[in-house]
């Protein structure tokens, strides 16, 4: 088979979703943001919802998400995306509404907005990227930073007696009656990507089906720049250290805790 044969339309098995713009991603090479962006946009396209979707992405590495996601988007203040999404969904109940938030955003400054949107059972999707560090601002400690993990504001490693415990916010929101689907995924291997896509699709399908509650998808991700590792080392470190504390898999399905 020649190259010309391979690129014939009938041989096409995969292409970039038209819901990702052509703008080059601003994320560091090896970062999981790009893959997660693509999965969300693929899901929106496959569900045929590109003309009713509104995304909200606030401060952090994903602050420019609207540059890449080819749907209507609003940029929110740090931590406030669930409040914006609440109003958007309540005022346009047939729209598909999602937030895209990092750990500092969702689990620190925006904890109140996160907990209360979940507890009210807003019919939105929250995508939560957890890389255990503040990536954009140069690698400071996040609420999800692991014990002993070195960051620029925990230079000798996170000391629980000084800095408190890493926050398992996903397990926390799973306890709230307003959440309908809560899952933790990753995007570091092809098989993880496929599972994460299934989870994201389920989350959006829940919203389209008007399931009674919020769907919450955590994506445990790397931050090779913040962790000061190569992308390969960062993924290995994530598997060895992040996954034991933040285990991958569904926590709540169809309103029932499964873990």
């Amino acid at each position: 088979m020649t190259l010309k044969d391979i690129i014939k339309p009938e041989n096409l098995v995969y292409q970039k979703t038209k819901l990702m713009t052509d703008k080059p991603l601003s994320y560091c090479p090896g970062c999981g943001h790009g893959t997660t962006h693509r999965l969300i946009m693929e899901v929106i396209e496959e569900l045929g919802k590109e003309n009713v979707t509104v995304g909200v992405a606030p401060v952090g590495c994903s602050v420019l998400a609207y540059e890449f996601m080819n749907v209507d988007m609003q940029e929110a203040a740090h931590g406030r995306a669930p409040a914006l999404a609440t109003a958007i969904k309540r005022l346009w109940p047939d729209n598909v509404v999602f937030t895209y938030q990092g750990d500092g955003d969702l689990a620190a400054i925006g904890t109140a907005e996160t907990i209360h949107a979940c507890n009210r059972g807003e019919q939105i999707v929250i995508i939560f990227i957890n890389n255990g560090i503040y990536g954009m601002t140069g690698g400071q400690m996040a609420p999800t930073t692991l014990e002993g993990m070195k960051t620029s504001t925990s230079p000798y490693g996170r000391d629980l007696s000084l800095m408190g415990h890493p926050l398992k916010i996903t397990e926390l929101v799973a306890q709230l009656p307003g959440t309908y689907y809560v899952t933790r995924q990753a995007v570091h291997t092809p098989s993880a990507v496929r599972k994460a896509k299934r989870a994201i699709k389920k989350a959006f399908q829940n919203q389209i089906d008007k399931a009674p509650g919020l769907s919450f998808v955590e994506v445990v991700s790397n931050c090779n720049s913040g962790w000061k590792m190569t992308p390969v080392d960062a993924n290995n470190w994530m598997e060895e250290n992040m996954f034991p504390f933040y285990p991958i898999g569904d926590i709540k399905v169809d309103g029932q805790l499964v873990k």
Partner: protein, 361 residues
């Protein structure tokens, strides 16, 4: 003449919110304006007009709900009082930066900090000078009666959408709590989703088929583009300053001296003006209805016409007096009289202040 009702200012405001075709109210209870949310919840407008009413978890959440809801082109409003409005400043700065039309109501109480729950006007600076970070302005309307609490709601929405700018109704605890007769405007129907999409093509409610996606943001990392955006905002503010100044003048045509007051202070000053006239002083009352834009030109005209002095009567520590002084530019005497911390001055105190600080001063 329509039906007259006897209502609290806060209740009239809530009824006006429903009648103005509001799509969503998002708020958090705080004295002295909790009756707004209570009235809305009791009247179930979602059954009558489809309007959404939601008690948020905080003022921070409610202003950001306005950011999201206003961003979709719907008519959204929140109400609060001074400490709650302080919490909303972050959101207001973003909303102003992203040019989103919203309505915010401040029923002011005494401060600073937790202060008290009595009427005050000490949020004037915060309301008229921006309040949050960055160069921005709110259009600020100051009602001085229960009737105006109702009437200003549709006016505020019109201004908000005309200029894609947040508008504040700056009331106070006395007007929010007092009962007066009020005549309501005919209900304005809510726009349909199709009408919203047709009227507000900038709004993020699902990108149009065969159209570009819409982005609402206050971020621009390129300083040159952000400077350009700021120039655009300033141009808009200049236009508002030229076109949207509103005020009421009473007995100013022959006045030697003018009291300048808004809201509850204006009510007291009206009585003071009558007392001063009875004593033979030619005194008028200028009541700014828009606090921003401020009736600067009108004050300049008064100076040119021969007014000899102005007294700013405020329930704050001399905040509005600065705007009067800027307008007068040193040409005649401008003094301030006010009470603080939730105290309201008596008309006699105002009479005394004008006689001693301006006429005899």
């Amino acid at each position: 003449m329509g039906e007259l009702k006897l209502m609290k200012g806060n209740e009239a405001l809530a009824e006006a919110i429903i009648r103005a075709g509001t799509d969503g109210y998002f708020g958090y209870p705080i004295t002295p304006q909790s009756e707004v949310l209570e009235y809305l919840m009791a009247n179930k407008p979602w059954e009558k007009t489809g309007m959404v009413v939601l008690q948020a978890e905080s003022e921070v959440a409610s202003i950001n709900m306005l950011y999201g809801g206003g961003g979709t082109g719907k008519k959204v409003v929140t109400s609060s009082s001074s400490p709650g409005i302080s919490l909303m400043q972050e959101g207001l700065s973003y909303i102003a930066g992203a040019e989103i039309p919203i309505l915010i109501i401040n029923v002011v109480r005494g401060g600073p900090g937790l202060g008290d729950i009595q009427p005050s006007q000490s949020d004037y600076f915060q309301a008229t000078k921006g309040g949050g970070h960055g160069d921005y302005r709110l259009i600020v309307l100051a009602p001085s009666s229960v009737q105006e609490m109702a009437d200003f709601v549709p006016v505020a929405y019109d201004l908000a959408f005309k200029y894609r700018n947040p508008v504040m109704i700056l009331s106070d605890g006395a007007i929010g709590q007092m009962m007066e007769k009020v005549e309501f405007f005919e209900p304005i129907p809510r726009l349909t989703d199709e009408e919203v999409k047709a009227r507000y093509p900038w709004a993020t409610n699902g990108k149009p088929k065969n159209g570009e996606r819409r982005i609402l943001t206050s971020l621009d990392l390129d300083p040159q583009r952000l400077e350009d955006h700021n120039h655009h905002l300033q141009e808009k503010y200049r236009e508002i300053t030229e076109k949207e100044v509103r005020f009421e003048k009473l007995e100013c045509d022959d006045a030697d001296y003018v009291l300048v007051a808004y809201g509850t202070s204006a009510r007291v000053s009206l009585k003071a003006m009558k007392l001063l006239r009875e004593k033979g002083h030619k005194v008028g009352l200028l009541r700014p209805i828009t606090l921003w834009p401020f009736p600067t030109k009108e004050i300049q005209n008064m100076v040119d016409r021969g007014v000899k002095g102005f007294l700013s009567v405020e329930m704050s520590a001399g905040q509005m007096v600065e705007d009067i002084r800027l307008a007068v530019n040193g040409k005649v005497k401008v003094e301030y009289y006010g009470r603080l911390g939730g105290m309201i001055h008596s008309p006699e105190e105002v009479v005394d202040a004008l006689e001693h600080k301006i006429i005899g001063g």
